[in-house]
Subunit: 331 residues, 2 copies
């Protein structure tokens, strides 16, 4: 295996000064309902609002001469993460984004000082646009997940969870898209807590990883239709190889289960978690019976939500809100 | 003064086993925009979703014989807090709530095992209903804020913020409704960090406290119209007396400033904060120029939001979200 325990430990030392050690939360209500001791890692409170800052920083900090800048293609949180990493290294960030990227994510990249190149929303267009950017600038390319340094960085999230949980965990749940976080989680458990199972949630409407693990090849999803917009990418041979060796399971979840998990994060944990970041909770709850009496960590891994979607997810029913004219009599 | 430093220290020891020491967060983006070093205390992550758990517990744990139960009237977070405190003491909780209390808060009280008596939404009706409950049950009444033990409990929030901030704070911002949290904050700063100013935000549409401090009497608000439904109560002579001695200022904020502060908590801090809990941030931002180059603590003190309101607050504009049919080409 090319990513060693020492590489993950070194990654942790390297990136810690620029990141938050995100807090762990518990929920007595959910414990009582399920009989499982859940430990939530609020990685939505991480810099740039997602775990992606870990991997991007670990890779960026190891580019020998980054003076020509750093570059990537991403429609999501890796774009912000790389812009942040470039800012830490005080070099330019060049980000290729599809024209239809969410406005909030475009604005966030700009706020971190990233230079955006828009492209058609196809895999070919973004690879071509990236090639042009690299040729023009000489910037170093940092892939969102098909990169050992990125994976070692993502592994630090599970490493912290294992260290801070106070007692051994029976399992950790993360999501799986390209497999950077999931493969890093597998390695962290393998090296630092072999008794902890590595599990992922995956949307039914982007179910490529579960299929890839079954066939042993990188597959595309049978169909794609999910609000978990951070999990649309497929595995790479690199992440698949790690998952084949170390993953303990992938649980498919429906869109309704994802929305319910997002709602639960808002309502009970008081955390803003994006759909992709709530997929691990949706999967863990679907598996709850299996973990009765056990301790299970769940990484709530991103919080970059377009607030204009919330009415759509949670409904907008003024009838349930207090009548202002009656409320007034309270003073 | 009847509430001593020792009373606050004892309160902290007494309640700590049953509560979270809520984390502090920072925001580089907001620091850069304002030139102020802001330290946010995420008290929305507290048990029952609000600081109210502190005061209710401190009072409940000092009831000599609580076997007949604990009782209060509240339409909001104190109701949940008292139900939680009663559960800690393993006695019944009797809560008088107005018929028009938000559904989510009613459900939360029930979930903590509280027995609810509904009443007409007037001050007279709730006092009468409470008197009947007390006569019937013999339960101990714990007022939401007009109670020294409650105030000493609320003071522990600022005490933790002062202890965890790493360096002295120039000011702390909280909201003011009945004045329990604000008077507790004033006392914590007075005893433990005399150089830290105690400031509150208050909605223009519930501006009784700023008026009361001016006249020296408990006043009612000139008009009442605000989404900050936790701040509709007026001061008591007890809280007013503490504020007259120790408060450094109250800043009035508009409804638009409150919604903007709530949005900012969701979008940037990834925290679900209710309008009443975001009023301190709204006030602190209104005062930002004054604090340039200084360190200021802001207590985000509650997170019990009726999610069906979010569409109304943040808009619901599907045009800004990615087109699913285009997103599909990404796999």
């Amino acid at each position: 295996m090319s990513i060693s325990a020492e590489a993950i430990e070194a990654a942790h030392c390297r990136i810690a000064p620029y990141l938050h050690r995100t807090p762990l939360l518990t929920s007595r209500a959910l414990e009582e309902r399920t009989g499982v001791q859940w430990i939530f890692k609020a990685e939505n409170l991480q810099k740039v609002g997602a775990f992606k800052a870990r991997g991007a920083l670990n890779a960026a900090l190891q580019v020998p001469d980054p003076s020509a800048g750093l570059a990537t293609h991403s429609s999501g949180n890796h774009a912000q993460a790389l812009a942040y990493a470039a800012r830490v290294r005080e070099v330019p960030a060049y980000i290729v984004m599809p024209q239809n990227a969410p406005r909030v994510k475009v604005e966030a990249v700009r706020e971190y000082g990233g230079e955006i190149t828009f492209c058609e929303p196809t895999q070919e267009a973004r690879e071509e646009a990236l090639a042009q950017v690299l040729a023009r600038t000489g910037a170093a390319f940092i892939h969102p997940y098909d990169n050992d340094d990125v994976i070692a960085g993502q592994a630090t999230c599970a490493k912290e969870l294992l260290e801070d949980a106070g007692a051994p965990l029976d399992a950790i749940y993360v999501p799986v898209g390209g497999g950077g976080l999931f493969s890093g989680t597998c390695l962290a458990c393998h090296y630092f807590s072999p008794g902890t199972g590595s599990h992922a949630g995956e949307p039914e409407g982007a179910g490529d990883a579960v299929l890839s693990l079954r066939t042993g090849r990188v597959e595309t999803a049978p169909y794609v239709d999910t609000i978990a917009d951070g999990l649309l990418t497929r595995l790479s041979p690199r992440t698949l190889a790690i998952l084949r060796d170390h993953a303990d399971g992938i649980t498919l979840v429906t869109e309704a289960q994802i929305v319910e998990a997002v709602r639960w994060c808002f309502e009970r944990l008081k955390l803003v978690v994006e759909p992709s970041g709530a997929v691990p909770l949706a999967a863990a709850l679907a598996d709850a019976e299996r973990w009765r009496g056990r301790r299970v960590g769940v990484v709530l891994c991103g919080g970059n939500v377009d607030l204009s979607r919330l009415g759509e997810w949670f409904g907008n029913d003024p009838a349930t809100t207090p009548d202002a004219s009656i409320t007034r009599s309270y003073t």
